[in-house]
Amino acid sequence: MSLWFWILAACVISYATKFAGYLVPAKWMKNERMSRIAATMTIGLLASLTVVNAFSTGQQLTLDARVGALLAAAIALVLRAPFLVVVIAGAAAAALLRLAGWG
């Protein structure tokens, strides 16, 4: 399967998920368990994506310049920097560490 196929499939699923919400009767929202799972899963996925991108290369766990990016981003977030500044801080940290010869 080409990447295009999976991209378009993801797009169809995304729209179907959003639209399905508009078709559901409002009383279904009383199902707290379903809402809770959507909430915990969002947190779990984002936490997972953060560490996968920071510490893994394929199937290997690695420590490289991306650790610096993670730390820089965390500091920026503690200082309440806006999203774009956080992203730039992460990029700059990784780039500078590589320039210094690490990772």
Binding site: G21, T40, L46, S56, G58, A65, R66, V86
Partner: protein
Amino acid sequence: MVKILQSPAVKVGLSISIATGLYGISFGALAVASGLDIWQTIALSLLLFSGGSQFAFIGVVSGGGTGLAAMSASALLGIRNGIYGMQMNALLSPRSWRKLVAAQVTIDESTATASGQQDPAEQRRGFWTAGVGIFLLWNLFTAVGALAGNALGDPKQWGLDGAAVAAFLALLWPRLKGKEPAAIAVVCALATLLAVPFVPSGVPILVAAAVAAVIGWFTHKPVPQGMAPDIEPYAEPYSEHDCAHMVLPEDGASARPGRREGGQG
């Protein structure tokens, strides 16, 4: 026109549109760095249009994961948009073709903008201003980022892999208020790292999703802020109240899955 610009909901919607639209640049640049071409990058912003899911898709691809794993991570992260759709349907009741358009622009920010307003007309204005505004700017800046990223050459030299790490942490951060969401994040992060050496790329993310779903199924206390949209457009006076103001017009008590014990605020 002047009158519309005086609407508080429109003002909030416009400022959120600019702030959110701008980070389309980082998505565009990261997407081409992860191996997508410019048209694939543009297609994701135009058709998928949900920041978290889009970053998840390219995050899995850049880590060497399969298209199936990328699609799955994106789909799971998009589940919350379905919940927002239910809330917005109850709040705004869009008719006919508007329902089709409203669905596409149902994301964290448009939901947050609408549900922070009390007046139904303002809720409607807030939703459409933020939804359509972000859609236009997000797509414009995605294209800018993709073109710029393509011209940069080796993405690692510019730290773009570090930018992806920072982007995911920044998406996670607003959801970590309180002990329970933080504990879930730590458990899922550890589960991911444990799984990395043993399963193909992309799958550790799905393992974490499964762990998170099990936690959600068995925990009895709601996770208050996890369901709150990423952005809090109404810093005051609502910031102390989580999203307890997000209630349905009728039968409001059932509206917020994340309401705390002891009632509002």
